[in-house]
């Protein structure tokens, strides 16, 4: 298939792997930020084909994984209201809240609908003028433009019953939090290609300067990842710390101006708590004052009790690259994709589910 097979060529992959092997002289720890990249690395077994000096740790870039428990609980509580329709992308439905997920809310009579675009949710709102439609706006900078566009359209078309439950998060503040945390092991990043398609990479330039870490904007196919890793290792070995772009077929330095404009019109930065990482200043988006009427949290200001995460779950350590999923005592035992304790076990982009589905087990368990 065009535009796919050429990025999965086993022969070329072997060549790039050999190049990495020739370049590397000592151990390096590289974090791939995005869950889509984790998925490809683990599914294709790329991390196991790399030379032993190159250790990949898996970042917080799985939107499903970092959405805090309290927002999931709020979504569940809204979904159960007879005057609301909750619309969401499919993979949020199985994310466990403190006691229920959205599938359970639906089984209990809640109107929960899977949509493939926020504009579909806008259509649901038009068709149900007597109920409030809540679109669960989850994701990084990648999904923000489409969600912003849906709210803008709702305003233009006077669809007052369309709202967003906003859980948007931003990549650069999370990278800063990881680099600033005591015990940080990350020496370089593969930056998320799709986020950078929207935002460009100017935001990453100060990070390379302040923390002296190489950042390579990288795509999601096996050869993208291998080339991105090779470029990163070369920078590390040569003592450089710059932003480089591997994903040239999609990303330019300045990003997508039209997309950034609509995001800036509809959303503004705010502090946000990340599941597993805790509160990070200016790391989220919320609706601007002008669009606040479309905010589901304003429309349904229910108080949702804060419930602590499962004590067994080490998702925070995993999302910071300080532990591997199978270091967790609950991995594959108390915590499985059927009964996830923490969010990284839910989505196939979550590091824990990716490890589980790829058959990675703790050494002691494997034998």
């Amino acid at each position: 298939m065009k535009f796919v097979d050429e990025y999965r060529d086993a022969h070329i992959a072997k060549g790039v792997l050999a190049d990495i092997g020739r370049t590397v002289t000592r151990p390096w720890t590289i974090m791939e930020v995005c869950g889509g990249q984790t998925h490809t690395l683990i599914r294709q077994g790329i991390d196991q084909l790399l030379p032993p000096e190159v250790e990949m740790v898996h970042g917080p870039g799985c939107p499903v994984c970092v959405t805090p428990l309290s927002i999931i609980d709020r979504a569940v509580s809204i979904a159960k209201r007879p005057d609301a329709i909750l619309c969401s992308f499919g993979d949020m439905l199985r994310v466990p809240g403190s006691s229920e997920d959205l599938f359970m809310a639906r089984a209990a009579g809640g109107d929960v609908r899977v949509v493939y675009s926020p504009l579909d949710a806008l259509e649901v709102a038009k068709a149900n003028p007597d109920r409030t439609v809540v679109f669960f706006a989850v994701g990084f900078e990648t999904t923000a433009p489409a969600n912003a566009m849906a709210v803008r359209q709702a305003r233009l078309q006077d669809v007052e019953n369309f709202t967003l439950l906003v859980a948007h998060v931003l990549v650069p503040p999370a990278m800063l939090a990881i680099l600033s945390a005591p015990g940080n092991r990350v020496q370089a990043f593969l930056a998320p290609g799709h986020v950078c398609t929207v935002m460009g990479w100017t935001e990453y330039e100060p990070i390379t300067e302040t923390f002296r870490v190489p950042i390579v904007v990288t795509g999601f196919e096996p050869l993208d990842l291998l080339e991105g890793i090779h470029m990163t290792v070369r920078q590390l070995e040569e003592g450089r710390a710059e932003v480089e772009n591997q994903y040239v077929r999609s990303v330019v330095r300045e990003g997508n101006a039209a997309a950034m404009r609509v995001v800036a019109e509809v959303f503004e930065p705010c502090d946000r708590a990340w599941r597993g990482l805790g509160p990070i200043p200016n790391s989220g988006l919320r609706l601007t004052e002008a669009y606040r009427a479309h905010d589901a949290e304003v429309r349904f200001p229910e108080v949702v009790e804060e419930v602590p995460e499962s004590e067994l779950c080490i998702a925070g350590m995993v999302l910071q690259g300080r532990a591997k999923p199978h270091d967790c005592p609950a991995f594959g035992t108390e915590c499985t994709p059927e009964h996830p304790l923490g969010a990284p076990m839910v989505s196939t982009e979550g590091a824990c589910a990716a490890y589980f589905l790829a058959g990675r087990r703790r050494e002691a368990v494997t034998s």
Partner: protein, 358 residues
Amino acid sequence: MTAPDASASGVSAREVPALACPVPLPPGDAVLLGHGSGGKLTADLIRTVFVPAFGGAELARLGDAAVVELDGVRLAFTTDGFVVTPRFFPGSDIGALSVNGTVNDLAMMGATPLFLSAGLILEEGLPMQDLGRVVASMAEACRAAGVRLVTGDTKVVERGGADGLYVTTAGIGLVPRGVEVGPERARPGDAVLVSGPIGSHGVAVMSRRAGIEFDGTLRSDSAPLSGVARAMLGAGDLRAMRDATRGGVASVLNEIAEASGVGITTDESAFPILDPVRAACEMLGLDPMYVANEGVCVAVVASGDAEAVLAAARSDPMGASAAIVGSVEEGRGVRVRTGLGGTRPLVMLAGDQLPRIC
């Protein structure tokens, strides 16, 4: 199921509700959609609720159809419910699906499908034209598969009590003398075949549901497999056949491996798949190995007969792109070799695959 007679002991059933239902229940308070996905949750439900309640060797075998013997004649018998949304989708509809699904369940036991029944549950307000279209499609599918629909039932429920139209079919087929196929018969060394390109049905339905168009080339593969099954049966030692419906080829391979107590290794690149289906799976973040098919089966064949059975399958229009995709080995579980040379296990999914956020 009858409740035990509590009145004899002078205690009314109302006072001992726990005794009224001896069926063990799986964890959770309510049935979830995942229990109908054909994956692990479905398997758990069958094992914990249905098999213990009804017992019987035929049910416990968990084949596509039960094979029962009457006066020396072996009959395959099966039933299947169809609740697909939307009712009409590219390449097929709920009517043809309800006939082909049952025909295929019979064919997978090596049986010649003969007679069908149909139960229709209609929602008040269903357009008569839709009903006519579904019934005409069922009749055409019966003709194509060479089966006769000989009895049926119709019920109408109030508006809101059903999603337009549900169809349940049951079918009877004759298992020819000497034919012996079953998921427990796979042996190390056997070859594993698929009869056609995978994932087409699930992607066609999902793209229609999602309103996503892919050049109009996505079509369900819903079709009778009785022809290709017969061709393969005549060409060599066919150990097991399964149509890869809900849960896709991955679930079927796992069922065969588990039933036979063997391992299976497959080659990801060997599975035939149409380009638009691959493209749609890439876009929606789905693994085609887990996407439903309605006209594709997995077959396990003694290694010496693999080429002959493959040629026989390809001689039937439904098997034109049949391919050998792997082999049976000692051990447990299903593995797949990836394009880059790694291997990963192909596990049963807990529930349905969910389209990803980004």
